[in-house]
Assembly symmetry: C2
Homo-oligomer: 380 residues x 2
């Protein structure tokens, strides 16, 4: 079934945005897309927040580009689990990202120079503030739901804390209340690979006409390992050699590709280094590191979540070792401690963290049911 | 208790060594150390095989260097679990390593040029062959035991297959019958970081007076993450900030160190890049990738191990996700299928793969008991 056509839009904001770092950003634009129709009561809006390397292009295809499906096109669209025949869905590219919203590759109007590594550090909370302004501009006072996976789930959770009156439901998929030391460690190695690439030039590589591709490749390879489960890697690649024709013989080389998994990772790294901005990678991994709503409450997540007024759906995946089910259960338990309305599904899926982007009948079924419930409860 | 003093030695071999790759190495030296005394029957020798970044300096200290303990000094020495008052222990640096044995930083006598990346690919099987020649030179026909952890355990296992008559016991700690796709993936990222460092110069950086330190740092940081368990990382570092004096405030920086785990990893990476050879890193990770005794038997590990005549002790650690207990159990099961004499201890330890190098009373107790049994059975 061909997907529906969509058109990206952009909204400019002239008023400065104060950031959690103490800095502020004078003026900025956000790239966004919308699917479906806002109802007369303006009560059917769903905001979808993206993770590390995704964008506002959540669903549908661009005219004349049949393979340009959005990153959650299996989940969102007419008749899909998040049904755009009922809901008005908004995808927005976050501040500091590299897909159209103001980011490090744009010119800082105050200096006339490309921001580069001087782009201010942005946090999950800053993104939510910027998203709230976009909703203001679209005339949406309250969301039927905010949803996201991974880092997007952190934004959905943060929405319920920063703007409790504006969120009726939060759908938090494959996420966590903060990163573990191991999560931070993987982010740090990726950042070091980028920053120590000689082509990074302290984050001002644009003016040298260069891209720190070596670092981006390494960063993406590390990322991919952590997105997949050990099991699915063994199933998809195992110890298979790249060149099947060679049969049982090793090449005996330290630098040539020997195993299929190496070929896959190099390809993913190369592809990523062609389109993703290095400074954006630093910013977004740092936003992940910094997110920790319990931090301001002495580590007490229950206390941190107390201000929320939304109902919640949490989803995790059994083989996700980047954001393990245990981390989702921490959120669920803290919500239940507050006697909030919480649904939780732990999906038995082999695909690791990547599962949140893939089709799984139980997973999409849970999301479909939940949005049917939202429609039944809230959109009468 | 101060450790005993030891002296490194070196043995040169003039006869070429045929390698699994089809290449051969004309002449070479192996650095080694011995502890304890070979008995009159020459029946108390224990060979210790090292893992990725270790060496022949297994136990004891060098004269005038009180902090120079060998890497398994807690396990091996007078009165220790592997008691050098009873056993004659040999540590040997593997071919291609960078601690004294012939390796990539030495001159290839055939070209007069430093080997660099042209050093032939060596496998676990090649190392075992080279170790066997060292034993020949030392007049040791049969080992009381061969032992090693991680990659060292692979060598111990391979000894029982390549020289079944020469091994009475094999002690295989925190090891695996081969690498998983995920293991290979981590090795590949580390190798790409090294090889794409501009200072690598195709593996001939020596003649440029350079070292690809950026790549080595990244490689080591990745390694360290995989050596530790998520739990121990959370316990040791958690989300603690580096600068405790700053209290609750983030610095909001993408490049400065914010969290303690970042500081730890950068330090480990820096230290490693000062002493470890980049080409050795490529060679040794490739030896890990290639090891797969079942490969020549259509993947049937039971068939692959059938030739062994040794008795076995396998040890694994519950939180080791690099070489998980499941991988050790695969070996145990294949040995039991052959009705071999196998002891297996799965140690409940929090430290991940690193546990094999650390003190744990159950772990050292198991090894001590096993070597007492060897002494009782074999050394009467």
């Amino acid at each position: 079934m061909p997907s529906f056509e969509v058109t990206p839009q952009s909204m400019s904001f002239a008023q400065p945005l104060a950031l959690r770092s103490g800095a502020s950003i004078a003026g900025y634009s956000l790239a966004y897309e919308t699917y479906g129709t806002l109802n007369a009561q303006r009560s059917n809006a769903v905001l979808v927040c993206h993770a590390l390397n995704a964008s506002h292009h959540v669903a549908g295809v661009y005219a004349g580009q049949p393979k340009s499906e959005g990153w959650w096109d299996n989940m969102i669209g007419p008749g899909k689990p998040v049904d755009t025949d009922r809901f008005f869905v908004i995808g927005v590219n976050n501040l500091g990202s590299c897909f159209g919203s103001t980011g490090p590759m744009h010119v800082n109007p105050e200096t006339g120079r490309v921001w580069g590594a001087d782009f201010p550090v942005v946090t999950v909370e800053d993104w939510v503030d910027a998203q709230a302004r976009l909703l203001d501009a679209l005339g949406i006072e309250q969301l039927a739901a905010v949803m996201g996976g991974s880092l997007g789930g952190m934004q959905a959770l943060s929405w319920t804390l920063q703007y409790p009156e504006r969120v009726r439901h939060a759908v938090v998929v494959a996420s966590a209340p903060n990163l573990t030391a191991e999560n931070i460690a993987f982010n740090e190695v990726a950042r070091r690979a980028i920053v120590t690439d000689p082509d990074f030039h302290g984050g001002h590589f644009y003016e040298h006409g260069l891209v720190p591709k070596r670092g981006l490749r390494i960063a993406r390879m590390i990322g991919h390992i952590t997105y997949l489960s050990d099991d699915v890697m063994n199933e998809k690649f195992g110890r298979s050699l790249r060149d099947a024709a060679v049969g049982a013989a090793y090449r005996y080389s330290t630098q040539e590709i020997e195993f299929q998994i190496e070929s896959y990772l190099r390809y993913q790294g190369d592809k990523f280094s062609e389109y993703f901005d290095a400074n954006t990678y630093l910013l977004i991994t740092r936003a992940l590191d910094y997110f920790d709503p319990a931090r301001g409450h002495g580590g007490d997540l229950t206390a941190a979540l107390r201000v929320a007024k939304a109902k919640f759906l949490l989803v995790s995946f059994t083989t996700d070792w980047r954001f393990s089910p245990q981390r989702s259960r921490e959120i669920v338990n803290a919500l239940l401690d507050n006697r909030f309305n919480v649904s939780y599904a732990e999906i038995d899926a082999p695909h690791g963290h990547d599962a949140f982007l893939l089709d799984d009948v139980r997973y999409t079924g849970v999301v479909r049911s939940y949005f049917e419930r939202i429609a039944a409860e809230d959109l009468q």
